[in-house]
Symmetry: C2
Subunit: 267 residues, 2 copies
Amino acid sequence: MTDFDNETALESAGEGRWSGRVSGKWNIGDAPNGGYLVCIAMQAIRQLSPQHQDPLTVTAHYLRTGIPNAPCEVRAESLRVGRTVSTARATLSQEGKSRLEVLAGFGDLSQTGDEDAPSLQIPAPEMPTSDECPQRSAEEQGVALPLLERLDIRIHPDEVRAGSAGEAQVSGWIRLADGQSPDSLTAVLFADAFPPSVFGLLGNIGWVPTLELTVHVRRRPSPGWVLGQLHTRDLKDGRMVEDGYLWDSNGELLAQSRQIALLLPRS
Amino acid sequence: MTDFDNETALESAGEGRWSGRVSGKWNIGDAPNGGYLVCIAMQAIRQLSPQHQDPLTVTAHYLRTGIPNAPCEVRAESLRVGRTVSTARATLSQEGKSRLEVLAGFGDLSQTGDEDAPSLQIPAPEMPTSDECPQRSAEEQGVALPLLERLDIRIHPDEVRAGSAGEAQVSGWIRLADGQSPDSLTAVLFADAFPPSVFGLLGNIGWVPTLELTVHVRRRPSPGWVLGQLHTRDLKDGRMVEDGYLWDSNGELLAQSRQIALLLPRS
């Protein structure tokens, strides 16, 4: 069993209820990474519709910070099972308080369409190889990133130093550290694992808690490194919208993501 | 009372329950517009947190087609009431079946930040005036659009004919037909009221049912016309992701939207 599978595993605890454990291995500082928590919730949703294992669209609202190294409960409910999409919601709770609310539509991304049907794709940007990109710093703003023992993240050399990018953008490579191949679930994890793109422009200016994250997974990825690029073009009154794109090792678009986050001054 | 307020109004029907009516005046063909249905559900969410009346982020999953000229029930539940954000979910049902599931974070967009704080904004595109833009056709692909008696929608002259835009893009002006000023709720309606942008590239190739729509409202708009631009850069295996942007009459970004829709052949 891989680290990811092991640390997102759930056990049935009755109709629509599962129990699991939030690992401390996916932390940013003292808090579990948001994308990691969504993956735990998605493991429950996957069990509601065996024919639909891929998150076509998943939205997560972060209600309260998760607690690392502690048990969790997931309640999940199917809202509709359709031929092409199954819609479900899930709540992840710890210590009796809901931490995360998820609303998702799952489908089957192995069902590809007619080769001749119209298609459009966002092309991958030019990037130095993963060997040419330094690792994401294991400490940011004085906060340790245990997450980097689980995820191998390399940042574009021009964007690795906070405030050096000249725009609110971060680009890099990402893969699971233990060699597990990416899939449609870990795509959601990857979408929330890069440094906040606003640091590239403004430097390490503070804490960026995510209110809501939506990821659209567009295909099952080929094995190997995943390329990510995130940017923020919309920041107002301390609220920012960040867009992200992931491409698989064949250069095919794997996922699009968008999140709204607060930009809070460093305390 | 304006048409919009009247036709999205809800009456309390007990703890966490409201009753209303889905008008037939907001139809696309035989079905109520998706953005209109979200507005009915948001009226319930607004009553859960009086201090947070603006949808900072709202996600809607379309489970089943709504029924025009028929009663509806909305169940809504507060998930967390915070200082800056209140999170809630809502289900709109008709004839005992859920039609729409909404998950939203509401806040107070009248609370603006420090003038000197960093900000970024997506600029409005160049557009001919509303007078120079023809009205959205009241019939598309043989389907009538009663919606156009409620919404005044003008399309960029270069994009008004399906297949003529050269890219999957549509731009235009929008306002409520009865003269009601736009607000943060109608911004969500406007985000889902333009013709599918993929028609601009591919022509009237079929039916584009939305699976999920997420709108981030970024400010309370100034009175007057709202400018919208939507584009699709990502279409694969009959599933497309469409991005939209709205600007108010001062040229300030009002909202960002993204939806995933199916592209189904014309039957």
